[in-house]
């Protein structure tokens, strides 16, 4: 028996009646529930787009479809990286899992950055807010709920990444302090990098990329860029190998549950991208004929 127990079946759990691990079953049920949450939000948007009141913005005139196609592609690719991370930990390869997780996190953040840019553009350039039209109400609530799901996913991925550094021989709470520092450095790196990147995008859109613009950018965003690089360096140091860790193939179910969530959020975005964005180009919103 003990010899046979060395090979671990990633998909089965002999202690449950069905062989499906409890966590995975709970997650599948949760995703069924989450389908209904998004279904209700998407229905609300689709019902209201059929009855636009006077003064409702015309979606095709405000959408930045190129940017959203790009971010959709990035989110799809993040699912690929997530799948690779799950595969890596199922093989017991923690290092490979970590690098896949980092790319998944980066792609998730690029998606969120695009959404921040889009919301900013709608509110300040195109004057579509959550309050001034029914389109704004349904659009921001729906895409904002999805963005919140992505943000929770990014937080979860980050926590799992940090968790994978727990030393196998940890005694006492020292590693938790280190994990908190790790998380704070991670948050600093992400926020500074996003701030600097979005600042660059806005500056470039305003006056094109030239020496004057770069000089102005570096004087106002220089410290943010420097801080981001500093924090990234800190992450590199904190991410260095320090002996055996308490994270291995037994944690595959945890990573896989997270993966289920991440893929689900991705699939929901495919539906939103189709129903909210692409639909407007095929059947422009208007009263039911």
């Amino acid at each position: 028996m003990s010899v046979a127990a060395v090979t671990i079946d990633h998909h089965g759990d002999p202690s449950t009646a069905t062989g499906i691990p409890n966590k995975k079953l709970l997650f599948w049920a949760f995703l069924a529930s989450d389908c209904m949450f998004f279904g209700t939000l998407i229905s609300t948007h689709l019902v209201y787009r059929l009855h636009p009141p006077p003064g409702n913005p015309v979606p095709t005139q405000i959408f930045n479809i190129e940017l959203m196609s790009f971010s959709t592609f990035i989110l799809l690719m993040s699912s690929l990286m997530m799948a690779l991370a799950v595969n890596a930990i199922q093989r017991g390869n923690v290092r490979s899992m970590r690098s896949s997780l980092l790319v998944t996190i980066a792609f998730g953040l690029i998606f969120l950055g695009c959404q921040v840019f889009e919301f900013n553009d709608f509110v300040f350039e195109k004057h579509v807010t959550i309050t001034n039209s029914i389109f704004g109400s349904t659009f921001f609530t729906l895409t904002g709920t999805h963005g919140t799901h992505v943000a929770i996913g990014v937080l979860w991925l980050t926590l799992m990444y940090i968790r994978s550094f727990k030393p196998a021989t940890a005694v006492g709470g020292g590693w938790v302090m280190r994990a908190v520092v790790h998380l704070l450095v991670f948050a600093a790196a992400v926020l500074l990098a996003m701030y600097a990147t979005l600042g660059f995008a806005h500056a470039a859109l305003a006056s094109g990329v030239n020496w004057t613009m770069l000089a102005a950018y570096s004087s106002s965003y220089g410290s943010a860029v420097g801080g981001a690089f500093l924090a990234a360096g800190g992450l590199r140091v904190l991410g260095m190998e320090q002996g055996p860790v308490d994270f291995d193939v037994r944690n595959a179910d945890d990573v896989e549950s997270m993966g289920l969530y991440w893929h689900f959020v991705d699939i929901v975005w495919i539906v939103i991208f189709t129903a909210v964005y692409l639909l407007e180009y095929v059947f422009p919103a208007g009263p039911v004929r």
């Binding site: 529930s33 019902v47 938790v176 945890d254």
Partner: protein, 645 residues
Amino acid sequence: MTTLPVKPFLLFRRPTARTGLIAWLTTVDHKKIGVMYGLFALSFFLLGGVEALVIRTQLIVPNNHLISAHFYSELFTMHGTTMIFLAVMPLNSAFFNLLVPLQIGARDVAFPRLNAFSLWIFVAGAVILNVGWFIKAGAPAAGWFGYAPLTSKTYTPDISADLWTVGLQVLGLSSIVGSLNFITTIINLRAPGMTMMRLPVFCWMALITSFLLILALPSIAIALIEVIFDRHFGTSFFEVSNGGQPILWQHLFWIFGHPEVYILILPAMGYVSEILPTFSGKPLFGYPIVVFSGALIGFIGFGVWSHHMFTTGMGTVATSAFALATMAIAVPTGVKIFNWIGTLWGGQLRLRTPMMFALGFLWLFMMGGFSGIMHSAAPADSQQHNSYFVVAHFHYVLIGGATFGLLAAMHYWFPKFFGRLVDEFWGKVSFWTIFVGFNATFFPMHFLGLNGMPRRTWTYDSNMGWNGANFVSTMGAYLLGVGVLIYVVTLLWSYFKGRAAGPDPWDARTLEWSIPSPPPVYNFAAIPMVHARDAWWYEKHHPEETAREQTAHVREEAAHGGIHLPDQSWYPLASAGSLLVAGLFFAVSNYPAAIGAVVVMVAAIYLWSLEGPGGYHLHPEGAAGSGLAGAPEPGSGHENSSSPS
């Protein structure tokens, strides 16, 4: 794989008290959680009953000015909300907790700490809903259905609507979390041999109810978010002047609201399906048909919501489709009734109190079903809509059905969890008082409705021809109140003075009766081997085989360290407490404080996951009676990993 002992860095030390207040606050034992659910729910049941009695007192005579019209609105709003969300649903949750692990032969639910979390956020939601009684804004007053635009800033400028929306949102979270847990538990934690088609019918109904909850609650959760955004952030989901359409609220509410009535009634069908066979001395007639009918009810239940909206002008096609679906859902319901009658047929009936309530359920639920079929015909419904006929109908279903099922269940399983029988004489007295009082209250309402008396009316004129029926109805309500009081006092008396019950006082059929009353913390000294649908009945008639298998199971388990039980934890209570604070701050629009409380909650949940399930081992045989002296397992602070331990 050896794990090194790890002392976790955590805010709270892991509690180990097995008795006293801390043991209850930090418990992860499904039986303690079930008892607490039951006690909270019973308190709210009594509160909702008092609200109903004030309503009936206001309507006892025409042109009554005992209470103000606004207070009347608060009362009927909170009566409905309390009875549905704080009494019947949590009482059913109490029985899910108490019975499901015992009936499937498990030691606990799949996620014990998540289960404690469901309980405590239920309490948080209940507090948020009821806090309005104690503040100037008053309790929510827009009806339990909260129709837009009644809940808008225009019509409810004070925070009572915020308390209602936030409170319901928190309660919905509690139900979803609990249901996910029970779905996993019922599917995954069944004892060896307990196939799905050997599952007790109650567990089947709990499973179907849980699926209905996770699929129906999102609809109202989003609708509530839309109302919350309208009120707090100036969106216009239900603001007509800006393109919003209040009818959307009705659709989203009833997409939840109709499955909700099956959420309330399916568990009652489960209790009755356990009680009738026991007291008839026969197995349940047509078990697979009863199970599939339950599933079919759950399925069709998602396609009938618009029968609450026949008078909104949906058009003939939609109206006909929803009318047909509503008529169709009567078929599986009727099939169940025939199966219960088939169970009684030719049985050795023992008319004990639980059986009386179960028979009362059968009769009264059927009457509610008949008036339900009358509603399904859209032309007839447009006459009955918003009249007292509807009030009569759904009270027959929710009291005669859901509540009678619960009253039967409390009587039936009381000896199992408290070790004492409920007094039979006073039980019967309470049954007859409740039965007569209930019919006297609600039967005249059919005629009041057909005579045109509208629902939610604060008072009425004396020349409408409604005086006599209203008087009878109020007298009936007082009798019903006396009956419930007798029922509760009898339970309390029996808790202290009742005759000791053995493990199996009713000569029953399911596994919970195979273990001592009250059950030990580990439920089953040996995990049972299930050979038949009525598992305990089979065990009773095959004692040698059972003893042999149980010895083998005990030996096998002892080889793995003995019975494994999870550790208690503070984190479910801590995170639910933070959610309560967050909800209250959000309702009063103090967003920074609310966000702060949510951050605390997230931190508590993260520490919860770092804390891990932990656990300790028990050796009930070796400890000879004292039993509970558990030694901590090495590595009990080990991470939340999925390692088979």
